[in-house]
């Protein structure tokens, strides 16, 4: 079996698994990192959103063989460490707004939200309603309005 090595939440990991197994299953079924959720496996629902080298991506749609030795994968579990705190400002805002209901999509929502704020900032802009409309992550509990409020709030503290 081929081995694959990469950085996961600040730790170097090596797994023994076939090349074409999608990273989501490597994280969940082999490494036991269950923050990223399966909601479709089709890169549609975005419940597994995590970061690769600081950018949002969906591990359900990336074979593990495409992950390079030097790639930094960050899941919700590793998000606070990226800012050296117990919680990332986006997580704090999520708590303040009490965004979650069932919670299943929320790790992916938070990871997507962080990437969106970084992207908009890199473009030298403030978050707009159009930016928020562009988030694809599904919340089947319908928490969207609180997500919008939380992202705007967190953007002030990031």
């Amino acid at each position: 079996m081929p081995t694959h090595t990469f950085q996961l939440n600040g730790t170097r990991v090596t797994v023994d698994v076939a090349d074409d197994v999608r990273l989501l299953w490597v994280l969940r079924d082999i490494l036991g990192v269950t923050g990223p959720k399966y909601g479709c496996g089709l890169n549609v629902c975005k419940a597994c959103t995590s970061h690769i080298n600081g950018k949002a991506f969906n591990p359900c749609s990336v074979p593990v063989s495409q992950i390079k030795d030097s790639d930094e994968i960050t899941t919700i579990e590793g998000l606070p460490a990226t800012v050296g705190a117990d919680l990332h400002p986006m997580q704090e805002a999520w708590l303040e707004e009490d965004v979650a209901q069932c919670g299943f999509c929320q790790p992916g929502q938070i990871m997507a939200a962080v990437a969106l704020v970084h992207k908009v900032r890199a473009e030298g802009r403030q978050i707009t309603d159009e930016d928020l409309d562009g988030l694809r992550n599904i919340c089947r509990c319908g928490t969207y309005p609180r997500i919008r409020t939380a992202i705007k709030k967190a953007a002030q503290n990031m």
Binding site: V17, D20, V21, R22, L23, W25, V26, D29, I30, T34, G35, P36, K37, Y38, G39, C40, G41, L42, N43, V44, C45, A47, I52, K55, A56, F57, N58, P59, S61, V62, Q66, I76, E77, L87, Q91, W94, L95, D98, A100, Q101, C102, G103, F104, Q106, P107, L116, D129, D133, G134, L135, R136, N137, I138, R140, G142, T143, Y144, P145, I147, R148
Partner: protein
């Protein structure tokens, strides 16, 4: 200065006439207080001139409560030696916030900080009979008094124990923040008293007076979910995240039509030889595969060559079902009266109650015992069915209830738990069985297609008759609520011969207006689709039809929709929420052409809601770009005002969340989301086919107004908002485009996606994820 603690009940003379509640000290090493699980039934006022409909007298929640009375087991609040309290909630938590509400009730009556209350979900407990059912927005209504009673008795027992130890009268003791204190300065926290307070031998009856709602300090205040921190850090555990030894991933290759069966597996050995695959076996509705990872399960199930037998509805498509529904509609009694009547017929297409967490369960079936983990709203039925299937006595089957990633009606059924048990038994190994997203849409439960025919007649400014005929593909109620309601229904004033579905229909539906002679009837056609409730059962469809016709009546009679509703409403609570929505939502404000307001009201679960929405149907909005080629836009709800009277709002923040969630469900079923049935299968197979509300569909402006408490008991909330928002959006859309819509969702006529292949039943995951980073 610190606020004084609460004195011992019984010392306040005004409490003499207040009702007392009974509980038991349960024999245990530390203090445990049990109560029977029941709640008193509320009774609505009868209305005249429209005769009271059954829902007015005894609604679904009341019927559930009544059915529960004689058979209840005990539920217990326990005090731990560290001063915390524990409670195993006999309900499901699927996002509705019931665990948070339960913790608040316990914290309130125990005078304990909220974060010192631990709530878990109880395993299936057959002795609770039908008292372990989560549905009908009934959890808060049924648990409100029992939970408080147990906590209040625990507090009294702690106080009495301290009084005895210290040799002082209990009336001189107060409780605050989990500490019993005496004016002498002596104090003890609950953990120090719990062993002495425990009942060592048999159970002893005890009774207590509960706090007045006016004295609440936690209940009624906005509180965050108790699991919020676990959620935002990714630590919250769903069944799929659990680590049960040996329970490897498992999935199922499914037939190309609903409920199709396996005739033969033609390449089992080849699939068994694939990387990671450990087992392949035929089960009732497909072929199970088990592997090291779910990804390898997908590879394996796709590689299977299976010969399929027919399903249960192979010849059915949208058009054939619609034809059958029309043929089965019960006749209207009043003949059409031309200009003096409004006649309308509405079609509501199949919709999916799939949650974001796909159906999944862990099963470990051994030769003489079994253990199951899953999100289950009726775990007792699951336990009974699975025990029967496995041929084991009930006490050999343990069923654990796990918090669910949404339900919306789906988890009333335990199909996936039964399937996991069946597969585990067949292969003799534990499995973590998950349905794929496509399975969830195509073979999972659906809200059935229905038509709603309405005829109203009016004369001289009065509505004389209002008739509604709801005809639906049968809603499957086989999950066990049936027995209870049938038993209760025999004592109801609705006649003895109604079928179960008709009973549910009558218990949940009513017309809130003085419309003279009112009849609402249900008929069903017995097509064997996999159906079930979906965040309400009938209300979103029935109320949408009703309110659209109300707007038509108002137009015909030359009245403003709000003025018309106000003059015909039977209920003061509904008038009050209507007035508030009109004020806050600015009814009648100037809007551009193509943008319009809609107003609707609804009363259910002893709550009342009014909703004012604004819908933008201008071309630049309808055709706005979206971030995915397969997302739909269409008209957008730009603003929503939801005014809710929940009787006694327990957690305003949670109540608001339920209103917001219900709103987004309603927007979906009116504007964007449905299943298209073709030759025995829904074409939808992903979230980019089934257009549940997305960020680009949700209103940018939402305002939820919670009316002040006006009752000693809370109403239901989980499903309350769906029907009135659906109706309001439909009415706003009708006004914006100048034509009453009659098919829902309004975009059903256009298939806005390329269907995924029918076989293999689960598509392969893409490999281009790194091309879409941001």
């Amino acid at each position: 200065m610190a606020a004084p603690g609460r004195p011992m009940p019984g010392t306040d003379p005004t409490e003499v006439h207040r009702r007392k509640f009974l509980g038991y000290l349960v024999a245990a090493p530390t203090l445990a207080v049990g109560v029977q699980l029941f709640a008193s039934s509320a009774k609505a006022d009868a209305a005249i001139p429209t005769l009271p409909q059954p829902e007015d007298i005894l609604d679904l929640g009341d019927a559930q409560n009544l059915a529960a009375l004689p058979t209840s087991g005990l539920i217990s609040v326990e005090i731990n030696t560290d001063g915390t309290a524990s409670f195993a909630l006999p309900r499901a938590e699927v996002g509705q916030g019931m665990t948070t509400t339960a913790a608040m009730l316990i914290a309130e009556e125990l005078d304990l900080p909220l974060d010192k209350v631990h709530i878990t979900l109880a395993d299936a407990r057959p002795e609770l009979m039908m008292n372990q059912l989560t549905g009908g927005s009934n959890s808060v209504r049924s648990m409100y008094t029992p939970i408080r009673t147990a906590a209040a008795i625990a507090r009294a027992q702690l106080v009495n124990t301290a009084a005895k130890q210290w040799g002082v009268p209990a009336s001189q003791l107060t409780t605050k923040d989990g500490v019993v204190a005496h004016k002498s300065g002596r104090s003890a926290h609950y953990g120090e008293l719990t062993k002495a307070a425990a009942s060592t031998t048999t159970t002893v009856a005890a009774d207590v007076t509960l706090k007045k709602s006016a004295d609440f300090t936690i209940v009624g205040t906005p509180q965050n979910r108790i699991d919020a921190r676990d959620i935002v850090t990714g630590r919250k555990v769903f069944a799929m995240d659990m680590k049960v030894p040996g329970a490897l991933p498992a999935m199922v290759r499914r037939p190309p039509t609903i409920n199709g069966t396996v005739k033969s597996i033609n390449n089992k050995a080849a699939v068994l030889a694939m990387p990671g695959v450990t087992d392949v076996a035929a089960i009732t509705y497909g072929v199970g595969v088990r592997a090291q990872t779910f990804g390898q399960c997908i590879d394996a199930l796709r590689a299977l060559d299976v010969t399929w037998g027919p399903g249960t509805v192979d010849k059915e498509s949208d058009a054939t079902v619609l034809q059958k529904l029309k043929a089965a509609t019960l006749p209207l009694a009043v003949p059409p009266l031309g200009a003096l009547s409004v006649d309308a017929e509405f079609v509501f297409n199949f919709a999916s109650n799939a949650a974001l967490e796909p159906d999944n369960a862990i099963a470990d079936v051994r030769s003489d015992s079994a253990e199951i983990w899953s999100s289950l709203k009726i775990p007792i039925t699951a336990k009974e069915d699975i025990a029967a299937m496995l041929g084991m006595p009930l006490d050999k089957v343990k069923v654990h209830v796990v918090t669910g990633g949404g339900s919306f009606g789906r988890h009333l059924f335990h199909n996936v738990a039964a399937e996991a048990a069946e597969f585990s038994k067949k292969i003799g190994k534990p499995v973590k069985l998950m349905w794929s997203r496509t399975d969830d849409f195509r073979q999972g439960r659906t809200h059935p297609m229905s038509i709603n025919r309405v005829r109203a007649t009016h004369l001289l400014g009065n509505v004389l008759t209002f008739e509604q005929r709801h005809t639906s593909v049968q809603t499957d109620f086989s999950h066990g609520l049936g027995e209870v309601l049938t038993a209760t229904a025999a004592r109801l004033p609705v006649g003895g011969n109604l079928s179960f579905a008709e009973t549910i229909f009558l218990l949940t539906q009513s017309v809130p207006y003085n419309f003279g002679v009112v009849t609402q009837l249900l008929n069903e056609i017995p097509l064997r689709f996999n159906t079930g409730s979906m965040r309400n059962i009938y209300s979103p469809n029935v109320v949408t039809a009703l309110e659209l016709v109300v707007d038509e009546l108002a137009k015909k009679m030359g009245k403003d929709p709000v003025a018309f509703r106000r003059s015909f409403l039977r209920d003061a609570k509904l008038r009050a929420v209507l007035d508030k929505a009109v004020e806050v939502g600015q009814w009648g404000r100037a809007l551009p052409k193509g943008v319009a307001q809609g107003i609707a009201v609804h009363s259910e679960y002893r709550g009342a809601v009014a909703v004012l929405t604004e819908v933008d149907c201008r071309p630049e909005t309808v055709n706005r770009p979206v971030p995915t080629s397969e997302g739909v836009t269409g008209p957008r709800v730009t603003k929503a005002t939801i005014v809710v009277d929940a009787g006694l709002p327990l957690n305003p923040k949670g109540l608001e969340a339920q209103m917001i969630g219900g709103m987004n469900d309603a927007i979906a079923i009116i504007l964007t989301s449905s299943l298209h049935i073709k030759d025995g299968l829904p074409l939808e197979g992903s979230w980019d086919n089934y257009f549940y509300t997305r960020q680009w569909n949700t209103p940018p402006e939402v305002n939820v107004v919670i009316m002040p408490a006006n009752s000693e008991t809370p109403s239901g909330a989980g499903e309350l908002a769906v029907a009135p928002v659906a109706a309001s959006v439909a009415c706003a859309y009708a006004r914006a485009v100048g034509k009453m819509p009659t098919t829902f969702p309004i975009n059903h006529g256009t298939l806005s996606f390329e269907p995924l292949p029918l076989e293999p039943s689960t598509p392969q995951s893409p490999t281009d994820g790194l091309d879409h980073t941001f």
